[in-house]
Symmetry: C2
Subunit: 332 residues, 2 copies
DNA sequence: CGCGTTTACGTCGTTCGTAACGATA
DNA sequence: TATCGTTACGAACGACGTAAACGCG
């Protein structure tokens, strides 16, 4: 058994059981991959795939188990490489982050700036998507960190470090009637106007709907979008009243909009940063994590380093002590 | 990075950082091992060992981490081989068991007989020792199953399946005064005679001392031995009253000894069978496990197969439902 | 006939073992 | 000088790529 055989095996699986595609992905010849697969099957004395004529048909039952093990092995090989790189090239490497628009646009810029100052030689890759897409990217294995809000159940193969909490804010065109209230705004007020807000993804934003439902109200959501910039644009056009993350809202006054504080109206959201279980993080990755979650003490960072299950991490943090993010472009 | 390099690396570590010894163990030449180590260090760009002149001095900090990962990798490689063997040679292989004298002498014979009937081509290796020695053997990695009583904390890297419970019995020469009591024997009775019993190992047998202490009594232990046969021999010589596992005691009448039931006098002991976490068990191994722990249903066996932590197993069994072993050579 | 896999074969790089050398206590 | 690790070198092996054959739709 050779590491390369296992690598080829996984490449075949990850390319839809197409040996040709796998070979291309591995920058090698197709017969080579074919042969190594054959040798592996011969050595193990078992079929890993069923054959349809000459093509691969399906993964066999035993094949599935072998593939699982092979993944563990290749993961640990990567880990060894990571470890080693940390010793001779502390400050070089790459960092891939998958996150949502709100984080990418309103939170990460300052963090990335600071990070680049410290690690100018680390190349950064930012991948943007919905929670579901982020989960897919994580599964596809080339992501170091995922940063998202809620929807914890989509990310069971990650360890999630809670990073900060945020409230929603209400955004209206300048001079809107809601800005003239002489009292704090209520859900009832909001239920009476057309709303513009985020699309409802699985885990996360339905908390907004529930907040209304809990008071027996039905919001009139006339438009949803995936990103705050789009929402604000439509609010500016007079399509309705916007509800967005506070981080995104506080820049609004520069754009002909006015922000109304909505603290307390909706449940607070918690944004976390997650990384794959069993992954060895490079030193610069830990520093990045600490930039995203600055409340983490060095002691806690050590504990995180040793954590193997979500519980290990959960006991370290008290939700009420997480920093609260508001303001756009405003450093914590 | 090659699997063989990792294998050599572990061999070097497991042979006291002696490359020559490692090479012998791997049935290869010494320069080959030396060279592969060098290549590995070069590829990783880090020293795995410090050098004292030309000899290896110590493992470096980074080396330790690499070694840990390498162990995981080699373990999974073994697992893949195990899986594969199960597919084409279901009933061939080997099975190494580490256990104590009592199990080896009084419990395993019937189990092994039955097992050999079903798997005549599986070669069996029985390793005998104290709990501590068994723990060492498990750590040294060539053991499939450990079977022992108590001392769970010595075996944190194993998953333990509780198998059966047993009481202690009192063994005396035929006609001894204690056999003439017209009431049930008490700890008080035993505190007044010289006792012969097992050596007190860490976890296990001190429960005997505590049973006396709980009633404010101090037993007069005049002789201890590690195995019941020795104890019975000395009892036969009149050295004192024996306290042994019931499994060992019930054969005693064939040997000029008499057995007194001691149920309730001492706390019940639970014997478990354990295997390494993350190890893939061959089919015949599961059957062996089921012979040792016959109360395990096929449903529970499936759950055990999927278990990754001790808790997963603990929830499956209620201590009070475990079979109770008495009698020597008596099938369950 | 196109797509994808396997077979065949020549080339090249790697590993292995033997032998010689170097360093340490 | 005995022990242990490294260097050197030739032989054997194994992986790779090209070219060609094979099977299926």
């Amino acid at each position: 058994m050779k590491l390369q055989q296992l690598k080829y095996l996984l490449a075949i699986v990850d390319n839809g059981l197409n040996i040709t595609a796998a070979a291309e992905r591995m920058y090698t010849s197709q017969p080579g991959v074919s042969k190594q697969l054959k040798l592996l099957e011969e050595e193990l004395g078992m079929q890993l795939f069923t054959r349809k004529g000459k093509s691969l048909g399906d993964i066999t039952v035993g094949g599935l188990q072998v593939i699982d093990r092979a993944r563990i092995i290749m993961r640990e090989v990567d880990n060894i490489r990571s470890l080693a790189s940390d010793y001779y090239q502390e400050a070089e490497g790459s960092l891939s982050i998958a996150t949502t628009h709100t984080q990418a646009r309103y939170v990460l810029p300052q963090i990335v700036t600071e990070f680049r100052k410290r690690f100018p030689k680390v190349s950064l890759n930012l991948h943007q998507g919905t929670s579901e897409q982020i989960a897919d990217m994580v599964a596809a294995n080339d992501i170091d960190f995922a940063i998202a809000t809620g929807s914890n159940d989509l990310f069971e193969n990650l360890l999630l470090v809670p990073s900060y909490r945020w409230d929603r804010s209400i955004v209206v065109p300048k001079g809107h009637a809601l800005t003239k209230l002489d009292r704090k705004i209520t859900l009832q007020d909001l239920a009476e106007v057309p709303l513009v807000t985020y699309v409802f993804s699985f885990g996360g934003e339905s908390s907004l709907k529930r907040a209304f439902a809990d008071e027996g109200l039905k919001p009139d959501v006339v438009f949803t979008a995936r990103d705050a910039d789009v929402i604000k644009t439509y609010v500016r056009m007079g399509m309705g009243v916007g509800i967005v993350a506070s981080m995104a809202a506080d820049c609004a006054d520069k754009e002909g909009l006015q922000v109304i504080d909505a603290e307390g109206l909706f449940p607070r959201s918690t944004t976390w940063i997650g990384y794959r279980k069993n992954a060895v993080l490079r030193r610069y990755m830990f520093e990045f994590l600490q930039l995203v979650a600055p409340h983490v003490s060095s002691q806690q960072l050590d504990d995180i380093r040793r954590a193997t299950s979500q519980e290990d991490i959960d006991v370290l943090f008290d939700a009420s002590e997480l920093p609260l993010r508001g303001g756009c472009d405003e450093p914590l």
